[in-house]
Symmetry: C2
Subunit: 120 residues, 2 copies
């Protein structure tokens, strides 16, 4: 088995939260469990395919857990695992820095809007 090597810790973190969608999904799930349709509404630009695909990858990394209710019509939600919750501080900081960055850029005259703040 070939050994996997990292030069620096952040590489491993980015493998988990990197890419266009994972950090966004996780920032939402950090606040509460959400079902597929809720996530689609919260992240309107994402396609169904990408949402499911990213959730599967986060499941495989043991960051989120898929929870199936035994109901009809089907009902599923996704929530952070205990391990996923260990990312909570990182995720929150990522949100906050972005909010500050947006504020600053707007103060400097850029036409830029943030729709939802992660006020915690």
């Amino acid at each position: 088995m070939p050994e996997k090597t990292y030069q620096i810790g952040v590489e491993a973190t980015m493998e988990v939260i990197g890419g266009k969608w994972k950090s966004i999904i996780l920032c939402h799930l950090r606040l509460k469990p959400m079902r597929t349709s809720e996530l689609e509404r919260a992240i309107p630009q994402i396609s169904q395919k990408m949402l499911v695909q990213q959730l599967r990858e986060l499941e495989a990394a043991n960051i989120v857990q898929r929870h199936v209710y035994q109901e009809v019509p089907p009902r599923v939600d996704y929530r952070l695992t205990d391990y996923g919750h260990s990312l909570s501080g990182v995720l929150h900081q990522l949100c906050v820095w972005g909010e500050e960055n947006i504020d600053l850029r707007r103060e400097q005259g850029e036409a830029i809007t943030l729709l939802h703040r992660d006020d915690l």
Copy 2:
């Protein structure tokens, strides 16, 4: 001018530190200014092209500053701007979580190594 809108702060953050290389470069520059050749040694997998390209993008975002010494042969280094330093906490957390993630995975039997720790 079309208004740029973000749904959530983390989107703006990832625009700055996302991609395969930026967070790695920034984690190095967080600790000290470094010249091109030093960065190449610190990040052996990166190509020259990607290194320069990512540095240019970080410059454009006002996160790093290019510093030219008036010498021959040429000598240039890159360092975080004051604004770039505002990312320091985030970057450090990204490193630390990754280190913990790697430790955990090794404890669970995965063949995995971290070469350099970000001990601060």
